[in-house]
Symmetry: C2
Subunit: 315 residues, 2 copies
């Protein structure tokens, strides 16, 4: 699967991923009104939940239609859907399916991880197939999932097994982009190295179990907000693709990101979520107006591609 | 919320929680046949997925009806539902609702955790209310959720805020029950202490933000399979309730668990999943037969209560 992602990155010239993390504050009023009008019968408890989820789905669809030809991949953050309950998860499922129909690679930002037998169920849910009624059925069917490593190898390996069976991939959290990520991840161990380096080493080791060309189907998440750690981890995990969140709204910029890439120009893919999907709310893209929010997103994608390509060319 | 859990534990004399982690291998053939007959219109993609989820729900309901008066709480593991996609998550939602109607406290074993703004969405999804259409709607509405600490304070505090607003609780993973939990959790830090102790200290600190009587709404998960670490953590976090998975099928027994409890006989609640819900498959309860699986579960609950009460009395 990682080779498929690399192929798409090379075709588009865009080592970027658009984070589909819809928040009601980002969704223009006219989309919310349309969702209200389109409301079908209430299935799961609350009409307003159905309407909100319908608005999320319509908002996503319009953005996907506006940007899919520019980018290799999207990354829906499942929490933003789970908060709308069952209707929200239906919107997630429809979003994943629609993105795949459009030829996009879908990174499910689910950050799952549990004891072995339970991780196996999560791996099935997101990347695999479940045996029911004598056949195997795909469930959410993302291409990649993000995985939390706190439980160690037996929480991660069930995902790797499914990656090998189904040609899928994962990105394991190594050094996250948030301010408090250092509380446990940066703790210095007895041998003088921080915990995130130990996790990075394990990711390299796990990666060897699922190679796909030069790179592994087992990638890593390292936040754009920690470029120094990014440099260390880049060297520690030479065959690991790094998913880099934290560009834009969380503070990172193209020039801070060059060291996440290998010399071959590969090895990293940079995520931006609200910087793209809520671009119309920024002064820079205000000229598009709320009605043309998806065009603003397209312009923001083009600017992001240029920023990162420029930074890579200038290094 | 923790005081409510303690009250129920004292009323029932049962510091135990039944893990509702249905696996198709546990569900008797007659339940699967009934689910097949009851199948409604296919909503989300696959008939067999709908049938499996319906079987899960029926299986759960029968077990809940058979044991609810004996126990304070249940712990559905969401992965076991997520693997059946949207129909599975509907079964999860119905299970949570039904358990609450029966007066049970529901611990959603979701092991969520992300950067701050995303953790806030997870907290809303599982413990809080989402603002939609000018009012606030409860979503999955468990009483407690399990939380992964790898991202540090800003991944956990949004859950604590919701605990305070909505009178709910969380259990933070500290030392998990699986064989490889030591890979990162036991790593010795520069000052000679393992990572899980640092996490335990943070849990104690976070706990002070949401006290409810003697104990905190911020609990900890410590596996029954690691009694030595349990003893250390018990002392380190005196006002923290410990959720102890790994009893029964994962190897723990009542006598191994006494040190997870405080001198007051409180401070821990022990989970058993397949040991209860698939009791009829054990030789010990085979006399009930597949048809009377729920009665076997009731007998297994009674035996578990006796085992733990006996161990506590004997210490």
């Amino acid at each position: 699967m990682i080779q498929k992602l690399i192929d798409r990155i090379q075709e588009t010239g865009a080592p970027i991923v658009v984070g589909l993390d819809p928040n009601m504050k980002f969704i223009p009023a006219h989309i919310q009104r349309e969702a209200e009008r389109a409301r079908r019968d209430n299935i799961f408890g609350d009409d307003d939940l159905e309407t909100a989820a319908e608005a999320v789905w319509r908002f996503n669809k319009e953005i996907i239609d506006a940007v899919y030809d520019l980018i290799p991949a999207v990354k829906p953050q499942i929490a933003m859907y789970e908060q709308f309950g069952i209707p929200g998860l239906v919107a997630y499922w429809k979003t994943v399916r629609y993105c795949r129909e459009k030829g996009l690679i879908v990174i499910g930002d689910v950050k799952r991880g549990d004891i072995g037998s339970t991780s196996e169920s999560y791996a099935i849910a997101h990347l695999g197939r479940i045996s029911v009624g004598g056949h195997k059925v795909r469930v959410f069917d993302e291409d990649f999932a993000t995985v939390n490593p706190y439980l160690g190898s037996d929480g991660v390996k069930p995902f790797i097994n499914v990656c090998n069976e189904e040609d899928k991939g994962i990105f394991v959290l190594v050094k996250t982009s948030n301010p408090s990520s250092g509380e446990f991840q940066d703790v210095e161990t007895k041998d003088g190295r921080p915990v995130y380096e130990l996790v990075g080493e394990k990711v390299r080791e796990w990666g060897e179990l699922s190679m796909d060309g030069t790179y592994s189907n087992v990638g890593a998440v390292v936040g754009a907000t920690y470029p120094e750690q990014g440099r260390i981890l880049r060297k520690l995990m030479p065959n690991t693709y790094i998913l880099v969140p934290g560009y834009g709204a969380q503070g990172g910029q193209g020039k801070d990101l060059v060291d996440f890439f290998n010399e071959d120009g590969l090895g990293a893919i940079v995520n931006s979520s609200r910087g793209i999907i809520a671009a119309y709310q920024q002064e820079k893209y205000a000229k598009f107006g709320e009605e043309r929010f998806a065009e603003a997103s397209r312009a923001a994608v083009q600017d992001m591609i240029e920023d990162i390509a420029g930074a890579l060319a200038a290094r």
